[in-house]
């Protein structure tokens, strides 16, 4: 049948077409799959590169951080190494100036002092700069009394100004508030820098400082400071990079004008830190005007000042109250241990540098502290402390073998082990970076004086800690005796029974108190502290009670966070009290 044949032919053709399509789509599929795999391979290869690059970048970053840290450590060491000999120079010069000298000798001493101070300033600049670079410099907000700042600067720089036969003119806009809020020290620093700069480049002329009110706001004033000189001026080209670190103009670099080239860069960073602006207007040969503008807070005299006074008053009351609370105990103790007590005990000085030891020895002698023992390492300091009681320890923080920080740690451990009262330890160091201070405090030091220090600083610090460390009376023996007399007939004394009960509950309560204080739960902290205070007082435990009493006071004023430093003293004081009671019970 022809039609059947045709039909078969047609179907065969259809099948062929379908097959062809199938082959084509299969081929297409394989091509797609293979392209997909290629793409995937490339993707994974890229991902690998990315991870490898990331790892490389991360390690580069870490290296950079480490090198930054080592730079800051380097600065610290440099600062220490420079300050230590400077300390010797300045201190000796100060002592020398106090001795009978001829006029000529006096002049020589002044030159030594000035040169050393300039060197000190250069080191300070380097330190400031490295701190600013590391973002470690913090502002200290407080009162800014511009008139006082100006007067101070005038006094301070007068010799320099006179030397160049210049006149200094100060002009302060009366609209600028007498008391503002800001960082007084840093504003002074900037002004001194700019004025010194102006003075440096002017001779037989004038340096004029103007303070103007730019804008008055409800709570702030925008104040503009201008320092004009009639000096050599600065070309427009140089003005652009003037505030860059280590930048000095061609003339500025000449020998006649000394400096690190960091002054203006520090000024700029400080002004920026205070959210202000700094700039210059100058023409070559016609002098320059350096200016900066700062937004300073208006000091709301009435309310704030009185508030501060109240707080201050209350804190001083508080210590008195605390003492009163303990009854006669402390009063007795202060009678028993008069203030000379501190002076009868020697001061321990630990410093590896022979110049420093000699200097401090002379300074202390001048201040009337004659009992002094010197050691030259941390290890010797610890050994000396083990055998003897000192009224105070002056400790160099950097010493070979065992440094002052480790020595302090060991001394604090001995005190705890042997239940000895805490001896004030004051760090003396050439490294005045915050991180170094933190390390000293962390180790258990009480105070910090940066080298070089003046007689006055040394005197104030020693007196502060001598008066603070009146020997504490752990127990009020009158109360203890009374309890001991109320003895029961049983085998156990009343005192030992009470002590046992006290021991059972106090550590838990101290822990509760710690929690309340840390979480600033004023009410709970006040209640727990009160409870602990009463319990301790009834057993004649005096020193620990004063601690509880202080915490209670803070908590009642809702200033619980201020009690945090006291927390660490509780457990040692508790242990000391228990030990002393045990001893009393035996005898």
């Amino acid at each position: 049948m022809p039609s059947d044949n045709e039909e078969i032919q047609r179907l065969r053709k259809t099948i062929e077409q379908l097959s062809d399509q199938l082959i084509r789509s299969k081929e297409q599929e394989e091509r797609t799959l293979s392209a997909f795999s290629d793409m995937n391979n490339e993707l994974v290869t890229l991902q690998r590169q990315l991870s490898k690059n990331n790892a490389g970048l991360e390690s580069a970053r870490q290296k950079a951080v480490a090198s930054d840290e080592s730079k800051s450590a380097f600065m610290a060491v440099i600062s220490h190494d420079f300050r230590t000999p400077l300390n010797g120079i300045l201190g000796m010069a100060e002592l020398l100036a106090l001795s009978p000298l001829s006029e000529e000798q006096k002049d020589s001493v002044i030159v030594i002092q000035e040169a050393a101070k300039l060197l000190l300033k250069l080191i300070q600049d380097l330190l400031d700069f490295s701190k600013l670079e590391a973002g470690q410099l913090r502002l200290e907000q407080g009162e800014v009394k511009l008139q006082e700042i100006m007067d101070y600067i005038l006094r301070l720089l007068k010799p320099q100004i006179d030397k160049k036969r210049n006149r200094m003119i100060m002009d302060c806009d009366p609209e600028v508030a007498a008391v503002l809020e800001g960082d007084s020290t840093r504003i002074t620093q900037i002004l001194i820098n700019l004025i010194q700069n102006a003075n440096k480049f002017t001779t037989d002329g004038s340096v004029k400082v103007e303070v103007k009110l730019v804008r008055q706001q409800a709570r702030t004033q925008l104040v503009r400071f201008e320092v004009h000189d009639r000096g050599i001026g600065i070309s427009e080209e140089d003005q652009i990079s003037l505030f860059e670190p280590y930048m000095q103009t061609e003339q500025g670099r000449s020998k006649e004008y000394e400096g690190t080239g960091l002054g203006l860069s520090i000024c700029k960073s400080l002004v920026q830190l205070m959210d202000g602006e700094i700039g210059i207007r100058s023409k070559e040969g016609e002098g320059s005007t350096f200016w900066f503008e700062l937004e300073l807070g208006l000091h709301l005299v009435e309310s704030k000042e009185s508030a501060q006074l109240t707080v201050a008053d209350e804190t001083s009351d508080l210590t008195n109250d605390a003492k009163n609370d303990v009854g006669d105990a402390t009063k007795n103790s202060s009678k028993d241990a008069p203030e000379q007590d501190a002076r009868t005990l020697p001061i321990l000085l630990a410093d590896d540098n022979v110049i420093n030891r000699q200097l401090v020895q002379l300074q202390l002698k001048k201040l009337g502290f004659t009992k002094l023992e010197c050691v030259s390492s941390g290890e010797e300091a610890v050994n000396a402390f083990r055998d003897k009681t000192y009224s105070l320890i002056l400790m160099d923080s950097m010493m070979p073998v065992m440094d002052g920080i480790e020595a302090t740690r060991q001394i604090r451990a001995i005190e705890q082990d042997e239940m000895r009262p805490s001896t004030p330890i004051i760090a003396m160091t050439g490294n005045v970076m915050q991180s170094e201070k933190d390390k000293c405090y962390e180790a258990g030091m009480n105070d910090f004086i940066g080298k070089p220090f003046t007689l006055e600083v040394l005197d104030t610090t020693i007196r502060k800690w001598h008066s603070a460390s009146k020997p504490v009376q752990i127990l009020n023996m009158d109360v203890v005796r009374e309890i001991a007399e109320l003895n029961t007939d049983g085998s156990q004394t009343l005192l030992s029974m009470l002590l046992e009960m006290y021991r059972a509950e106090t550590p838990g309560k101290i822990e509760d108190l710690r929690r309340h204080v840390v979480s600033a739960d004023h009410k709970a902290a006040a209640e727990t502290a009160h409870d602990l205070k009463s319990g301790s007082l009834s057993l004649g435990i005096s020193y620990l009670s004063t601690l509880f009493s202080q915490i209670e006071k803070y908590a009642k004023q809702e200033l619980t966070h201020q009690a945090e430093p006291l927390l660490d003293k509780l457990l040692p004081a508790y242990q000391a009290a228990c030990g002393a009671l045990q001893q009393a019970n035996k005898s």
């Binding site: 062929e16 097959s19 062809d20 199938l22 082959i23 299969k26 599929e29 394989e30 799959l33 293979s34 997909f36 795999s37 290629d38 995937n40 391979n41 490339e42 993707l43 994974v44 290869t45 991902q47 690998r48 990315l50 991870s51 490898k52 990331n54 790892a55 490389g56 991360e58 390690s59």
Partner: protein
């Protein structure tokens, strides 16, 4: 170099011969058209061309094992497509005829000798066992991992690896006991026709993506050790093995650069120079790409700035013929990633004693 010339001669005409052989086979076996249709015919031509290429390459490097191995592999593969041993035998006989007709002496003799060996091998059944056993370390995990991949459960598969890593397994063990055997097993399943090409691609891509997700976990710092550049020759898609090898080098403290496939020879030489590489690892999977590896090695040797670089080769053909690495001009060969690191280090430490190196690899 008659073997070489014979191989090269055959490579030239492989495509024309394949066409001719296919036509002859379909004329002699008309049922083939009914059984496989036009697709089948195209496939036959492709397969014939592959067989000729393998034969040529194998003669070229004087390595009969390459061809015989290929034939036994092909037999299993074709069985999956319902192509019988008889069909394959017919195809090989036709290749023999075509060689007799088209290739002049003395080349013909070399080619026929190898072909006969292939025909002989075809008659012995040879089945490859599974690459995954429960008794191996992480054997059960590898098995579950593969099953998840075959079920398109990518997430679940990765979770196995993640949980093992969290339990303390090393990335290197994951490479060695999960990724690598699973990859071999996928190849075996495809050869036996148990999974499709698509599935094979998917599983490989999934494992690759896991490998790339793991990079951030362990590529954590620049290595300061010796440097390795790794590349596949030709347009090889079977690059995952080399990738894993490169990673193992990296884990061993080498600084590695994985170039992958599709990298022109010139660029590979360029990369060796740029990265100041100590060793170049070249991977070959397809035997018919062997001559490309040889060309690349020659190029590296002839370049003043890369002549000193140690050349290592690896991949399927080198595993079949353990002496083949010498023929392509390499300095050494390793059957797997773990051995490769040791051999590369020996190559750098004892540059002259190539024979010792080869012993170490065996």
């Amino acid at each position: 170099m008659s073997h070489r010339e014979a191989g090269e001669r055959l490579l030239q005409d492989a495509e024309i011969l394949a066409e001719k052989i296919t036509e002859m086979q379909y004329r002699l076996q008309p049922d083939l058209m009914e059984r496989f249709g036009p697709i089948g015919k195209i496939r036959t031509k492709q397969d014939s061309q592959y067989s000729l290429s393998y034969l040529a390459e194998s003669v070229l490097v004087k390595s009969p094992g390459l061809f015989t191995h290929y034939i036994s592999w092909l037999k299993v593969l074709l069985a999956g497509y319902q192509v019988s041993t008889e069909d394959l035998e017919m195809n090989l006989q036709l290749i023999k005829e075509a060689l007799n007709e088209e290739i002049e002496q003395p080349h013909r003799e070399f080619l026929l000798e190898y072909l006969e060996m292939g025909i002989d091998v075809m008659k012995h059944m040879d089945t490859q066992a599974s690459f995954i056993h429960a008794s191996m370390p992480y054997g059960l995990e590898a098995k579950t991992y593969l099953q998840h991949l075959l079920d398109n459960k990518r997430k679940e598969a990765f979770e196995i690896v993640e949980s093992e890593l969290n339990d303390g397994a090393t990335i290197r063990d994951m490479y060695r006991y999960i990724f690598q055997p699973v990859q071999y097993e996928i190849g075996r399943l495809w050869q036996r026709g148990q999974i499709s090409v698509g599935q094979e691609h998917f599983c490989t891509a999934a494992t690759q993506s896991f490998i790339s997700r793991l990079y951030s976990r362990w590529l954590i710092g620049p290595n300061k050790g010796k440097k390795l550049v790794a590349a596949c020759v030709g347009s090889e898609q079977h690059e995952i093995g080399l990738r894993m090898l490169t990673d193992v080098f990296e884990m061993e403290g080498w600084d590695t650069y994985y170039l992958g496939a599709n990298f022109p020879n010139g660029s590979i030489v360029e990369a060796i120079k740029r990265h100041e590489s100590d060793v170049i690892a070249i991977s070959v999977t397809m035997t018919y790409h062997l001559h490309l590896a040889k060309e690349l090695i020659e190029r590296i040797r002839n370049h003043a700035e890369t002549a000193h670089v140690k050349v290592m080769v690896g991949g399927y053909p080198f595993n079949i013929d353990k002496e083949l690495w010498r023929t392509v001009g390499a300095d050494g060969y390793a059957p797997g990633a773990e051995e490769a690191v040791a051999i590369a280090e020996r190559l750098l430490n004892h540059p002259v004693s190539l024979d010792n190196v080869s012993t170490a690899s065996e």
